[in-house]
Assembly symmetry: C2
Homo-oligomer: 478 residues x 2
């Protein structure tokens, strides 16, 4: 007799989106809370998603000539202070080590909130000639930022990420690198995570501490809020000058190299949840799902069912699909709810009737569609169905983005649209900080980006009526 | 005209072994020093070795059903203190965070020196039934131990490692896991790193803080000192009791689960250096070498050489070998010295004469042997040669171990042998701590392990003359 295990319930997203999000994080067994606020435990299923994203990103970084390194996790306070804007941006949220062993340290050490200063210090030792350039480095690690309000994936005091750091002989090359890496992030988001993005420039107000330019990809969540999903920074030679990094160029002149950095973090898993999830739980894009197909036998106590299900499972694995079979004594209802909660893209059911007919039943997680698949065709049909789920998720997310992007010609109109619909509001902008502050204060929106794809919506700034310089996206952001 | 770049020189190991080691670490571009003592930078070439070892270990862990997770890097002081022996072992070498943002923290947080306490705290939330067991977890991360004397790879304040943590319903299963994981480490050392090992039990004095049993693999370095290369611990239910981890067993009784942990760290790279390196630099076992074959054209200015070398390089890559080609304008002498320093297992030279004869010249890093290889046979011959290097390195290391392992029947004899030859000294032992302390004080040796492969060397303890219980290995250790 099947054990009746309780099916976990989650809050409807329409009732309380924040609670729905937290429920998915815990009930899908992605995270657990630790004893320290904002320091989350990534459980095996959550970490496996991150490993899949890592594999894709790491492969792209290496394809483009980047090498992985490991820097210390501690930064002496004096080193952090070398670049003025950088320290102003990060010092207020650092965690400080003041005691080592049983001794008070002569200088406080901060746990890295980001590692520009460490890379620069290292480069100042090893870069001498144009032959040493470019330096194309990346690091996989965790960083700490002492945030006040925290949420799993979206805002942790500690979070996992990769931080790319590169150094180039020319500004042209460094700028090309910055833009290329943004394109890598956009590629991963759109083609692996099924998350459509808006690519653009951050305003001066929103750029990274110490950067000349910050590029961003912005995604829209189910609740129409924005998630900054990856950023890439051009530093010019600002850090190089402060850290004394110089090289002898081909023309025998001493020069300062040009620098970039770029990062994507476990925050993106929060983005996946809020882009694709539904009231039954997580919905994972097949390309990064730890389990792409789960085989669930129907009436497994009947003779032959378990064996046939096992054979089917093995055939699915042999087709190169990440698969699992559930032969436990939990009820069919519990199993279905459980794999829906975990967002497994396809559930494949096989019962005595199916075996008679030489078929199995594939159930799509994204839309509930049931498809009868001939057993001899699974090696071809299941990958096709996984592609269909991947494509379906992207299209649904793209519709959400397109249908909730609005044009406004005044601050009042922007405010009204945001209050009524949420979403992204496109307006023209004069480029002044004051208008950005006004939009924040009066309409509760921050600038998301000045998109690469510009449109001419109007001649004047929506906020102040002065001549417009660019089109800009506004939104409420995570 | 070839640029004459200076060939880096290193100290002979016979002159100053410690300096030789440091020279190899820096000149082979494995590490750089950071601004904090004992926190080393792993440069791309060093980190690539670690990535190769990671891939092998991670594959074995997953093959055996383990899952990766990510725990916080910070441990509240109160959590660390829950297990008495554990905190006594680790508290003296913790780094403490006392300030977060701009505020003094109400409780000090230590940067993890190891994560047993974090895993136990987590398990106390999620383990309820025998159905939840076993928990087979692993984590890749860095840990901090505030050591006084530090050396690259061998003893860092921060180092990278993996820490496996598992929880089982029965002692039998947990003990089997502990031993199995030791065997995994032995497999990696012997079959991938070409490092022969002695497997055994640590004495009570040398075991891990809080463990009931610690198993170890011990390797012998060039200088005849011992390197503990991987350890696996059985904890019994000691932590489970302190952390309140219980489960309902099949018989409906509440029980404490049994726990293990096991770790291997970047220290093993220090072991690779000191096992295989020579006075020309690093020597890498092919199975973990970032570059297995480097192609160096001879007289590359002559027409056709570069093109043929490039074609050869591509054919080698196509054969599934990690290869590199050096077409730089550095001199032949510099290139040869450089790839010897970096320990590349095979250098393949190709010049006009070779092209005429349809051959290339393969030079083995381990013994300098030059082998003429027909170009049409490289896909078969180079993998064979790489296997020969791998095998050659293992055999050389095994000879070093065998030839420098001695039997002693008294403390005086053990002391004399150690002073004269270094190496491992096998004796019988009564099992008393006092004899271990005597051996340390009088002969400068610590117990390395009570080997699984016991021999009967004598009836009595070499130190005190009382009846012997076991055979034991002594040595001077890193």
């Amino acid at each position: 007799m099947a054990k009746e295990k309780k099916v976990e319930q989650i809050t409807d997203m329409e009732v309380d989106f924040a609670q729905w999000f937290t429920d998915v994080c815990t009930k899908a067994e992605l995270v657990d809370y630790s004893g320290i606020k904002g320091c989350f435990i990534m459980r095996p299923y959550g970490y496996a998603i991150w490993e899949n994203i890592q594999k894709i990103l790491d492969g792209m970084f290496k394809r483009d000539g980047h090498e992985n390194v490991s820097m210390p996790m501690l930064i002496p306070e004096s080193l952090l202070q070398k670049e003025k804007d950088h320290v102003e941006g990060f010092a207020p949220e650092c965690a400080w080590v003041t005691v080592g062993g049983s001794e008070e340290l002569p200088e406080r050490l901060c746990i890295r909130p980001t590692s520009e200063t460490l890379f620069c210090d290292h480069w100042s030792h090893i870069v001498h000639s144009w032959r040493d350039l470019p330096m194309l480095y990346n690091q996989w690690c965790s960083v700490l930022r002492w945030e006040k309000t925290t949420r799993p994936f979206l805002r942790g005091r500690e979070f996992l990420w990769q931080e790319g750091h590169t150094l180039h002989a020319t500004e042209e090359e460094a700028r090309a690198e910055t833009l290329h890496q943004l394109e890598v992030y956009a590629d991963v988001c759109e083609n692996y995570l099924a998350m459509p993005v808006i690519r653009g420039n951050k305003t001066d107000k929103e750029k990274f501490a110490g950067a000349e330019n910050t590029y961003t990809i912005e995604c829209m969540m189910h609740d129409k809020k924005a998630l900054q999903s990856g950023t890439s920074h051009f530093f010019g030679d600002g850090f190089a000058r402060q850290f004394g990094i110089t090289f002898t160029d081909k023309d025998n002149q001493q020069k300062y190299p040009m620098q970039t950095s770029w990062g994507m973090s476990t925050r993106i898993i929060g983005g996946i949840i809020m882009t694709h999830g539904d009231n039954n739980g997580l919905v994972l894009p097949p390309r990064i799902a730890p389990i792409q197909v789960v085989v669930v036998p129907v009436a497994q106590h009947k003779p032959g069912v378990t064996e046939k299900a096992q054979a089917l499972f093995e055939a699915i694995q042999a087709a190169g699909i990440r698969a699992k079979i559930d032969l436990s004594d939990n009820s069919m209802g519990w199993k279905c709810a459980q794999y829906e909660m975990k967002g497994v893209p396809l559930r494949v059911e096989l019962g005595p009737k199916d075996i008679e007919n030489g078929v199995c039943m594939a159930v799509r997680r994204d839309n509930g569609e049931k498809i009868s698949v001939k057993l001899e065709e699974i090696a071809q049909r299941l990958p096709e169905l996984l592609d269909a789920v991947q494509q379906g998720l992207y299209e649904k997310a793209k519709r959400n983005l397109d249908e909730h992007t609005y044009v406004a010609h005044s601050l009042e109109e922007a405010k009204e649209l945001q209050e009524k619909n949420g979403g992204f509001i496109k307006t023209m902008w004069c480029g002044d900080l004051q208008c950005e502050l006004d939009m924040k204060e009066k309409a509760g929106m921050s600038s998301r980006c000045i998109p690469f794809k510009q449109e001419h919506l109007d001649d004047v700034c929506a906020c102040c009526g002065k001549p417009a310089k660019t089109m800009i996206y506004w939104g409420v952001a995570y």
